[in-house]
Point group: C2
Chain length 243, copies 2
DNA sequence: CGCTCTTTTGACTAGATTCAATGGTCGTGG
DNA sequence: CCACGACCATTGAATCTAGTCAAAAGAGCG
């Protein structure tokens, strides 16, 4: 099952996840007026490139993208994966330039909101301003968890955590937490987690043999969620976290 | 609550770096009215603990802190180091709970701003709201660079990049970029960079032997800035366009 | 001045990478 | 509709970077 947003924010299935969060019904139309639809982006093409001018905030409607940071020696770092309902471009506000590229992992459609309008909304609607602050704050906290993952955890723990996190993100979207499609390649997962694709492949094989997951190409089924959480090893203590 | 009379933001040397950025003179007094001073925090003690309620934003006046994320198996991840002028607590806005602890690395004093007042200022002063968005956006972008550092770089590149970054932060504060004190231990640096203290120690020895740095205990001098940048290896290139 | 914590150095180990080759999948065009 | 080619995934063997364990030297504090 896929999420099929309708044109108006008011009727969008992602309403509880995306920009409209917390906006009263009668204010949603203000958002609707400025949201622009774009034709779907083909798999492998960029929504925007690193270094390009930032003037538009994007929200993923359907599909998935990876955000990629390029270094001058040709290496890449995939800093995250954006799923339906996620916002793209918040990291570019301060400099006016995108610090990463956003590349579609599959055919993807987005909503585009000129940032001047976002700023204007934030000015007029306190609820909206607070929502924007909340989203950015959550991003900062998630980055800290990711830092801990990369800094302290083994390859197996990183992959298991990645899968658990993906599962949780599907839950937030009302999708199955046990069965879902991985829109990214093994190499993408590896790069994101600071590992190599060979290591990821070996770990997948291992998890399959242990009966924890079933994985055919990119169709994942989590057979033993608790085992996977155990493999992830660590939960962060204060309260439930997500990433 | 032992609050001393507020000292004016207007005359603070960190004015260009901290919360007052972009506020016109006549609006600074609004900030001054709500900023509370606190008695200095002793080295090793926490300004706030992970999991504790968030209701106050902090700005470092003097000294330095580390932000630490604890996992339930006893490991720690130092997610960052806060220097004079840096803000603490932005990652807690969305959940109302601190996702990290902030621990003083030396005797440290901070300004405390109740978050309700910050929100109120953001409501009344568009410039202030935009500054807050900018600071958080910059934080997100910095986290992405850090992700690339941990995910793709060797131990030597990580340490060299860390030193270069520290040097740049000193520059932003009008301090010497070539000579400064390291307020954190080798173990702290190691933890932050996803390495061990032994590795950091060996790398420092190596950089000393190469004549790139001079380091006595925690007094650092960068003798050959260019060599250090070379050792850092990579600079991030949003040079895709700009201009 | 002595105790403790931090830093340095050495020897050995191990988890993950690299290099290399084979096996699968999928889209495209004959 | 099947075959080809490109890309993605898996597996194996050898290597290496950084970690672990251990011990000694140095700095700071009461």
């Amino acid at each position: 099952m896929t999420l099929r947003p309708t044109q108006a924010c008011e009727h969008c299935t992602l309403r509880q996840l995306c920009l409209p969060v917390g906006l009263p019904q009668h204010e949603l139309w203000q958002l609707d007026e400025i949201v622009q639809q774009r034709r779907p982006i083909e798999k492998g093409t960029a929504l925007f490139n690193m270094g390009s001018r930032f003037d538009t905030l994007f929200a993923v409607r359907t599909g998935a993208l990876k955000t990629v940071l390029n270094t001058d020696d040709g290496t890449e770092q995939i800093t995250g994966f954006a799923l339906a309902g996620d916002l793209l471009g918040l990291d570019a506000i301060h400099s006016g330039q995108h610090p990463v590229s956003a590349v579609a992992l599959e055919s993807t459609s987005v909503c585009a909101v000129p940032y001047t309008h976002v700023d204007d909304l934030a000015d007029r609607l306190p609820t909206f301003r607070q929502h924007m602050m909340n989203v950015m704050s959550q991003g900062l906290a998630q980055d800290e968890s990711l830092h801990a993952l990369l800094g302290q955890r083994t390859a197996e723990q990183r992959l298991a955590t990645f899968l658990v996190t993906l599962s949780e993100r599907h839950r937030a979207r009302g999708l199955s937490t046990e069965r879902f499609y991985l829109p990214m390649s093994r190499a993408d997962i590896a790069n994101h987690l600071g590992l190599t694709q060979e290591t990821i492949s070996r770990l997948f094989t291992q998890l399959r043999k242990q009966g924890v997951i079933s994985l055919h190409t990119r169709d994942l089924e989590i057979l033993e969620p608790q085992s996977l959480r155990n493999a992830a090893g660590v939960t962060i203590t204060p309260a439930a976290s997500s990433a």
